[in-house]
């Protein structure tokens, strides 16, 4: 008898956990995009001037991403899926001049989160057979939405968030 990873019985009857093709793809895609985001954030960190923005990127975002990477690596390992190469631990270089502004980096960051929201939603909508995996993706999306809400508020506070054309109610 086997329930998920727990088995009682003859060793020949053991079955490794199975994953469908689409679920394997979304697991890999989620991990790859986090590796990319971590590397990109490390590059951005060299250019950030504002101290609290730096702290938000380091503690707020990178820590969340690292935790999620650990979960995804464990899941891929559980399903015997090949892991992609990890990004470098840190990327340091000297950036002179003031070409890349904090406002520009903020907009890259918020765009990245918007793309990530799309990806996570797609992953949830496509992971309909494996409840455990769906639960993981739902957890990731909830965290992403929370971060997005905070980033929007922070951007407003700093004056970096650009407003689309506004519509004003006409009144009675």
């Amino acid at each position: 008898m086997q329930r998920k990873d727990f088995h009682i019985g003859w060793s020949q009857s053991v079955k490794p956990p199975e994953v469908f093709g689409n679920e394997a793809y979304f697991l890999w895609e989620a991990l790859m995009s986090r590796y990319d985001t971590i590397q990109l954030s490390q590059i951005y960190l060299n250019a950030v001037h504002d101290a609290d923005f730096k702290l938000i990127m380091k503690k707020g975002l990178m820590n969340i991403l690292e935790k999620q990477v650990n979960i995804l690596e464990q899941e891929m390992d559980r399903y015997h899926l090949p892991l992609p190469n990890r990004p470098p631990k840190s990327v340091r270089f000297n950036l002179t001049g003031n070409v890349i502004t904090d406002e520009f980096l903020f907009r890259r960051l918020s765009l990245g989160i918007q793309i990530s929201i799309d990806k996570q939603t797609n992953a949830i909508a496509s992971t309909f057979y494996n409840d455990d995996l769906r639960r993981i993706f739902v957890g990731f999306l909830k965290k992403e939405l929370e971060v997005y809400d905070d980033v929007c508020k922070y951007g407003k506070l700093k004056g970096w968030l650009k407003n689309p054309p506004l519509t004003l109610s006409s009144g009675g």
Partner: protein, 170 residues
């Protein structure tokens, strides 16, 4: 002059009217139209459903739909965005049992739920001006995720959920 939220006391020209972006207004309208459309579809599907559990499930979906419709209608009234036409209150007709199968009805709910997730996440994404509207869209998205979870489990229990292809990973 005093204004707390949308409540204002003072000279008429000192009041701050609620503001939203063109994108937020368009998503409000788009989601509400999708909900109205889904309301009509559910009313039609209930007539064809044979399995009692499926009928109960469809009614449950209607409950969430009505709740979210009310929230969006209130938001649209608040921002004075013109409302689309409302769907019919009820659609009843005689059906020959077996013409539309229960698994086909389930597929309609499943696919619609997937589409709603994408639509609602798009709405959250573009809501950068109005904090309260972002919160509303976020709540709607989270409720839709919960519903999608229930749909998946219900479909698997009934054997109506299509199994994706199993592939050997190298």
């Amino acid at each position: 002059m005093v204004q707390i939220g949308n409540f204002h006391i003072g000279r008429y020209d000192s009041a701050h009217k609620p503001v939203l972006s063109s994108g937020e207004g368009s998503y409000l309208w788009e989601i509400l139209v999708a909900l109205y459309d889904w309301n009509d579809t559910l009313e039609i599907l209930v007539n064809y459903a044979y399995d009692q559990e499926l009928i109960d499930f469809l009614r449950k979906c209607e409950h969430l739909l009505n709740k979210q419709t009310k929230i969006l209608e209130d938001e649209m009234a608040h921002y004075q965005v013109p409302l689309p036409e409302r769907p019919r209150k009820a659609i009843s007709f005689d059906t020959e049992s077996g013409v539309v199968q229960d698994d086909f009805i389930f597929s309609r709910i499943f696919i619609n739920s997937q589409n709603f997730l994408l639509l609602c996440s798009g709405a959250v994404k573009i809501s950068v001006v109005s904090e309260s509207l972002r919160e509303t869209f976020l709540k709607i998205l989270l409720e839709r995720i919960e519903e999608f979870d229930e749909i998946c489990k219900f479909g698997r229990k009934k054997g109506w959920l299509q199994m994706p292809p199993k592939q050997k990973i190298n």
